[in-house]
């Protein structure tokens, strides 16, 4: 089963994106903390794309697809990014460095990689797709 949501690239839409994700996965037997983690991971990717890839341009948009499979939950965040993020070249910065440098950013992808079982970025033609995968435990799907 796939659920989709499209939003324009403004930060004020992050709340409605979170609501979409939360409502879509509400039927799965995640705890409140686990559900919040999944919502957070999608929120972080969307915020990065809206702010850095699209400079909060309300004429651009992103689409979120949630595919519920038997053993996996796959979150796709699709956008038209002319300079897609090079995830393979990215290394999580050490927390001590962020504290020392008084940086406000740089933690989003650390959270995403801690929460999800797999994160990938695929580019085809002018479409960039972030794919976040969460393996489902056998007890996660409600009968």
């Amino acid at each position: 089963m796939t659920h989709s949501y499209k939003a324009t690239c403004i930060c004020d839409n992050l709340k409605s994106i979170r609501t979409f994700v939360e409502e879509t996965i509400a039927s799965l037997a995640f705890s409140e903390v686990e559900r919040n983690r999944l919502v957070l991971a999608v929120d972080e990717v969307c915020a990065n794309l809206i702010i850095h890839a699209h400079q909060c341009n309300p004429e651009d948009n992103i689409q979120i697809n949630i595919h519920q499979q038997e053993h996996q939950l796959i979150f796709e965040i699709i956008n038209r990014d002319h300079q897609p993020f090079d995830l393979k070249a990215y290394q999580n910065p050490p927390l001590s460095k962020i504290v020392q440098e008084r940086r406000k950013g740089g933690l989003g992808l650390v959270l995403v990689s801690e929460i999800m079982d797999d994160v990938s970025v695929n580019v085809k033609d002018d479409t960039c797709t972030w794919q976040l995968t969460k393996e489902l435990k056998s007890s996660t799907t409600k009968p």
Binding site: C11, K15, R18, R37, L40, D43, V99, R102, L107, I115
Partner: protein, 110 residues
């Protein structure tokens, strides 16, 4: 998100309401920046009504660890719900920031 500030005796309390995400974290940043300029030394951050925090919000807390230390400003968070506390714990921030369950316990720290 909303922020309220309360000054009571030696304590300066920042109350956070709602969601702190990439859109709203700027308001939390302004409140912390104000603390620096006011030279308050005992800061309580009331998270009782904080429903959600994203990395942009965590970043605000992290970015003030060093400036507060330099100015001898102590701050303690209290009242975090389970899911908000979990977000701090994912990155190990619960080891860097002082957190308590109640306001009373937070005041003892200061």
């Amino acid at each position: 998100m909303q922020i309220k500030e309360i000054e009571e005796e030696v304590f300066y309390t920042i109350q956070i309401f709602g969601d702190v995400d990439a859109a709203s974290s700027i308001n939390l940043d302004k409140a912390f920046d104000k603390v620096l300029s006011l030279k308050k030394e005992k800061i309580l951050v009331d998270c009782t009504h904080l429903d959600y925090i994203a990395s942009a919000g965590l970043g605000v807390f992290i970015s003030y660890i060093e400036p507060f230390k330099e100015k001898n400003i102590q701050f303690v968070l209290f009242g975090l719900n389970e899911k908000v506390k979990d977000v701090f714990q994912i990155l190990g921030l619960d080891n860097l920031l002082k957190m308590e369950d109640t306001e009373e316990a937070a005041k003892i720290h200061l």
